[in-house]
Symmetry: C2
Subunit: 204 residues, 2 copies
Amino acid sequence: MTEPSPRRRGRPSRTAAQESGPGARERILEAARAMFAERGYDKTSVRGIAKAADVDAALVHHYFGTKDEVFAAAIEVSFEPATVVPAIVGGPREAIGERLARFFISVWENPATRAPLLAIIRSALTHEAAAKVLRGFVLRRLLERIAADLDVPEPKFRAELAASHMIGIAILRYVIQVEPLASADPEEIVAQVSPTLQRYLTQP
Amino acid sequence: MTEPSPRRRGRPSRTAAQESGPGARERILEAARAMFAERGYDKTSVRGIAKAADVDAALVHHYFGTKDEVFAAAIEVSFEPATVVPAIVGGPREAIGERLARFFISVWENPATRAPLLAIIRSALTHEAAAKVLRGFVLRRLLERIAADLDVPEPKFRAELAASHMIGIAILRYVIQVEPLASADPEEIVAQVSPTLQRYLTQP
């Protein structure tokens, strides 16, 4: 990813306009996701992301703003709230708990999405700046949109209770790797957790 | 705590025997708990703990063994499984979920026990050695003892599901500090979470 792209050869003076094709934004996001996952929040810089994506740092700022905003955008690539939220809150209400459990487990079971999420949680637990981003951008965008569609008292509180359970499972299963949870069949986890999430998301 | 104790004056050549009174073990544990909480697993050494407790490092090894074993012992001070487990598994079975929820919340609400627990979780999320200690010593000693008293299929799996929920709540409430969970009345959390834990710990 740090290798110069072919089109760069013989073009020493690039401008943001030349690079700002539809591919540049995706390259920046991909590089940001990889760097935050690999190095953590603290050791990742806009300059480093720009270099890995083979663009000027100015273009990263142009598309995303500050490092915190790049971080938030990189996280959203994993969550994709725009597609995830309708998939969870749509469909029959009596299976919303199971849909949410299945979504979370599938994100965590996929190494490509697990790595950046673990990096985010690690960063948020050790750096207040990363915690603030997670709190402000992601949880608000993901959980508030789920909560907006719930017909329960204190929907945000309920959505957070559901999220807390899935985050705790991820930590015990994938990070601490406590047995038998670490080796349990994902479907067994979904079966146990779905009624819990269902209650939080629907019980008056 | 790093100040030399009065009895040390004029006693340049201390021996382990001289220091190994009933207070020394407690001093070492207290120093270990404070240092692991403050500096994290990685930056805490047996030598540093010994210095803070005003004892020889040999005495720390004598009482506890390796750094990992000191870490485990320091964690146990917060959990106190010997007194906690009977308090949770004893009492009427129909309220075991509420007792577990209330115990976890009370440990987290108390800053004196919250700080070392957060340090443990942070350390375990960032250092495999600390994760191994948490996995091996603490979860096994605490969760296996709770599981041993449960009359459900896969009791360890059930106990871990319950623990995962409480760990996730702690992370969202005290570390990420997402609202409204961060400001919620502890009793409201206990009320919501108790039925979940009850189901994991008792439903066949």
